[in-house]
Amino acid sequence: MNRGLFMPVLVLAFSAGTVPFSSMAAGGGDEFFETKIRPVLAEHCFDCHSASAGKLKGGLRLDGRKELLAGGETGPAIMPGQPETSLLIRAMTHRDKDLAMPPKKPKLPDAVIADFERWIREGAVWPATETAAPKPKIGDFNLEQRKKKQAWLWEAPRRQAAPTVKNIRGPLGTEDRFILRRLEDAGITPAPAADDRTWLRRVHFVITGLPPGREEIQAFLADTKPGARERVVDQLLASPHFGERWARHWMDLMRYAESRGHESDYIIANAWHYRDYLIRAFNDGVPYDQFLSEHLAGDLLPVPRLRPGTEINESVLGTGWAFLGEEVHSPVDIRQDECERIDNKVDVFSKTFLGLTVACARCHDHKFDPIRAQDYYALSGFMLGSSFRQVRFEAMENNRKMAAELAALRERFVPGLAKAVAASHERGLGQTADYLLAAREVLLAEKQNAAAVSAEAARKNSLDSSRLQRWGELLGTTAANPASPLHSFAKVALHPDSVVPGRFVDLLAAHRQARPAGLPTGARVVADFTRPDQQPWKVDGEAFGPRPLRPGDIIAGNNPTNPIARVMTYGAARRDLFWNHLKSAPGNQNDSGTLAATARSGQMLRTPTVTLGVGRLHYLIRGKAKVYAAVDSHLMVDGPLHARLVQTFDGGAKPEPRWVTHDLSPYSGHRTHVEFGPEGTGELEVLMVVESAEVPKWQPGAAFEPSASARSSADYAKEFQNALVAANRHLGRGTLANSPESARDAALANWLVQNPTLSGALPDVATLAMAGEFLAAQSNLASRVRWESQTAVAWFDGTGVDENILVRGKPFQPGAVSPRSLPAVFAPAKTITTASSSGRYELARQLVDPANPLVARTIVNRVWHHVFGRGLVASVDNFGALGDRPTHPELLDHLAWQLVHEDHWSLQQLIKRLVLTRTFAMSSHAAEARAEELDPSNTLLHRMPVRRLEAEAIRDSLLAVSGRLNRTVYGPPVPVHLTEFIVGRGRPEQSGPLDGDGRRSVYAGMRRNFLSTLMQTFDAPTPFSTVGRRNITNVPAQSLALMNDPLFHQQAGVWAERLLRETREADAAARVRWLFESAYGRLPADQEIAACLESLRDLRQLHNTTDGQSTAVWGDLCHALLNASEFIYVK
């Protein structure tokens, strides 16, 4: 009790009443009830024991004092003042098994029970609002009411009339009027105009992040013609440094990094292409609607944007952002891990593009905004319907064209070749039955008599003896080859009993029964390429051709004497060996882990996404495949737990496909799709993916079967011959796929082209010439294919996935399905139902719809933030109820409307408008002291704020000023210079140069666990989620860096050498002026020159030199100038 009395006194004395401790300490007070009792009741009891309970349990309500006293079937729940005898306490302590509450759950913490005991002991006070507010439930959420709280936010931006202002001096832009009007209303005079040098330094940093050089300053000052400022702005926007600066802003939103963090910091191979994509996009003035669409659906745009003058696909690079986050290798709970990753994607997406924190709604409806848990899961679906790939972005457009040409080429030649081949077979097919029967005779004969029987058979039917021999050889192996059309003949007619009269029919019937029928009961078909028209075709690259092949499709080969290599006897996704020469360009990085995405790039086939049942997948394939089962989209496959996700399977080289089994049974109940890629250079055909407990035996039915009227081998042979002749005709006419017996005909035609010598056919000269022409054209085409490519991180579109609402965000508690959609509060939101795609393209369309209330507002606000130091909505990533209110709502709408309807989403145009305003040209000195009083935090923009440069701009300035800046644009990251303070598991093997090769900071390597200390010190964000507004801190580590970081010392020396080189004849004062102009963009005042000269004298003394050209002395002076605040601040 001592404490109880003592504590409130202390608290009141020292926290001035911020903590309502007095009421807490008084025990049974309202505060105690509201913080300790009611929330517990609401969370643990009300579901079953309140007015809002679905089904009231035990007749007991706990949502009011009256109700507690009345109790339920077992009597009153509480006896005020007597916790010992209160049933509620007995239930909570789990003393009686039957009464234990909450049921089937662990006991509540002892501290909570103690709170209840105290509450009852002190009278069980229940404050006046008798009925407790129930916990919000999905059904309770009222969208319209929520919307009303911020009605303006959910309306599309409207055109705004420019406000009238009284005090017009000089030209005034529309934007200025909005600012000025608010200042006039507040009775504040805006700051006067900044001088030209201040404006120039400011605009340089805003647009390019680099200080103006001395020559640029001189040129600007010398340009006295009207429009000088506009000319500067145009030049800066045209400079490649503009893109570098603004790409870096965008990278903060995309939590850009080049490694996956977590334990071992595996690299994200080739992530930097996304960074270069951003720089190019800004420099090329890509309109924001296009830019956004590329981020969401760059892989799905009907017409991708190409890098000017090339065939390089730019659009697809925009999708890389999705995979720049953290990835965990070998997580034990793989589904939980997926939920975290998806959450991160939804978070980045919604903050960046919508200015909303939708991720808050993962566990329950948003507390304040009109966002339901359902909306969160509706967005998750878009992320779940696509997977990770390394895309051959340099080559893909070229190859898409080449693939089309290849298809056209084949269409032009193959029918003719097939016709010629069929014609050459035609002549020899009339004797098929004779050969077949003769070969049978030979095979059935005693070994020692075979030669004689053969000779006799040949003579009797005037058959060619070597051809007969080939028939014999073939037939001899056919019994073991179920895919052969003669399989049943071999099984039946070569059976010793077949010579017994009448037995033939029985044998044939028995054979028919022996054929395996359908799939095992309970089997589920995940993908069926044998029925190509019913299968969504999801491939990366051209290696599997434009579509699955159908039975009867004709495949040309590389042998002019046998130009048709194969006729498809079943439907299948087939690797086209034409594409066998795909290569990774030199310097391209290999993907981490066993997934090895780089190696699979451009040659992948994927199935729809399914939820695993028994978890045993069976693949019917021919040839070798590297298979990735993307269970829970886990891609950082490495380590012991999930190695089975990536496996190589061999379906064999025989003509018939084979079932192989991928045992994913530990993942039963998890979502997955399967990706097939080739392994090695051989053929690969994928027919079917089936899930079932047992291995299926089903094979595509393609074998020839005689009719029911066939009573003998001779009947059989005759029927076979007739069918073969018919199939050959279909082959020649190109009607295989349409024939009434297409599967049989395809099988026969294939058999024929695979065994050309059986018919004795020889191609004629014309056929040879045609085949030669075809092969020459094909190899000419091959020479124009872009075999080598860099690869980049990108989305690989899959099939539609609609996520379940997860109750309280727990993956093992799936609720109702939430179909893919923008949050319902958005006017253009429409459920997206497409099953054959993730639906990201449709989503992008809804986002850039001018009716969308938030997309344009969010981006103009971001630009405003970067130009003026603070957004019109200061919380740039959150326009919702918990964000800041706009300081100038009409201006925000004006800018948003203008961007969409007048500037065609051009951000360059927007930036230009803003930096040419009079507002931007204000001094950072307030016009009057009153202004600071009336607008102390400058929310009305009565002056331009003084801003500290960002980490990158500080380092880039250093290099620019010293003259070391290497202005190379684009390219692989420069490794971070490793110090003894950049440590940890997975540390890069190579340290980069101290000066980062002189490159701008945007090109520095971004290994998640090994970020540059200097950048971190100056508040470069940790890349984990969207950061639209960086922290700006003042910490001693920053000063220590300026004072002692070797880079600053090194560059001070470089700068001093440059000074002495460029100002050989100048005196010390002139040099000081030179230095000031380089570093600060202005000339020094007299007392500053004096201070520097004095310092120079001191330094010369300390260095014990009288040399006016001493680089040591000048280097120290330069270093001091870099340490002054002005170097890292912009006015």
């Binding site: 926290s15 903590v19 940790t1022 984990f1024 801190t1033 003042n1034 005042a1085 500053e1088 201070a1091 270093h1119």
Partner: protein, 487 residues
Amino acid sequence: MKPSRPNDLFLDPRISRREMLRRASNGFGALALAAMFSPAVPDALAAIVAPPRRSLEPKLPHFPAKARSVIFLFMEGAVSQVDSFDYKPLLAKYHGQDPRQAIGKLEKTQFENIGRVLKSPWNFRQRGQCGMWISDLFPRLAERADDLCVLRSMTSNFPEHTSANYFLHSGSGLQGRPSAGAWVTYGLGSVNADLPGYVVLNGGQIPSGGLDNFGSGFLPATYQGSLLHARGMPLANVVPNEKMATVQEAKRRLVGRLNQQGLENSGREDALESAIANFELAARMQVAIPGLMDLAGESEATKKLYGFDAPYEHTRTYARECLLARRMVERGVRFIELTIPMVDGYNRWDAHGGLVKNHGDNARAVDQPIAGLLADLKQRGLLDDTLVVWAGEFGRTPFAQGGDGRDHNEFGFSVWLAGGGVRGGMTYGETDDWGYKATTNKLEMHDLHATILHLLGLDHEKLTYRFSGRDIRLTDVHGQVVKEILA
């Protein structure tokens, strides 16, 4: 010489709230500048008493605190509870049997290589007045049993090192969230004007998950852990590059004059003022940190107490860390974390195989230094308001992984607290008969965090930071203060 310990505002009745506010809001202003540009000795600056700094200035706790500093002894890799603080005789009885028979259904483990029930190779004895069971793994530490408050029912949400490390440090299994040390420094600031508020002493092992374990996440960078190396250059850029100190002083004089000029040019500007303040703080740190690291003033007896003369190299390393931790406590550093030395050939406490050698060597490295630290803090009267936290990211299985190792176990393990307002000589919570899962008074990481904050005078539900429109806490939406262990 014992440096006088800086005062926290809330403990010093002589400073009124009004005075505190006046100090804080008056800006750096004239006083500091005047001192900076006085022609007197450059160290005149050091004479300024604790100039308030923008973000690290001391702040009031929510209520009176028990502890002023935290020393976090992070036992990375996960110490086995059943070989240290959680005595389970049943393991000996069932040693060598199939755990699926003896224990029943087992949870998934990281490696799924489940061996036999494995008894502890170390003997357990009752220690101290309290009679707490501690094994011979920590012979010296066991002598301090009466100072320890062992929580035997701790649990974690993650069975992998990295996520669990993040969880232990930041209350979230994901990368990029503020570490507890950052939260504490954010909540309380620092009473030492010359040192960072949150210091990580690097003994050799950087934990899985890297420096993000000590990050400030979305909190301002001011609060992130400063990694100090126990040997060599302790902190990035803290040692001047100039060959002569006088050259740096000359430069600093010039910078001071230019900054003053800049301030006059731009009028009063908070950002510029605090940059100037930091510039001078940095200058003082160049003195303070080497002073901190210089152990010349410590007596031989003190060094011996920590184990500076130990034959084992890693004991000596950790002894140095522990002594430095005490010196930082004396200087008012708010949150001090020690990482363990890189014990030869071993991966932290992560004994997937060779339990005896792994735990034996790791214990050898830390046992005496920790016991020495507790003794030293106590004899100097510092233990009462210094909270010592000893914890790994999870525990280990009571059954073997393979033959002679133990796999990860997040379902029940032991951590201990000492000093700083917790009751010594007690245990709290229990695991089942196997030491496998917490059964009684089960604790979550959030409860540990809530309790640490509570001892520091912070209400974990009120210590929030608004990020992206949400008020975020170290304990997310969880956490209960473990009241039963409060002294």
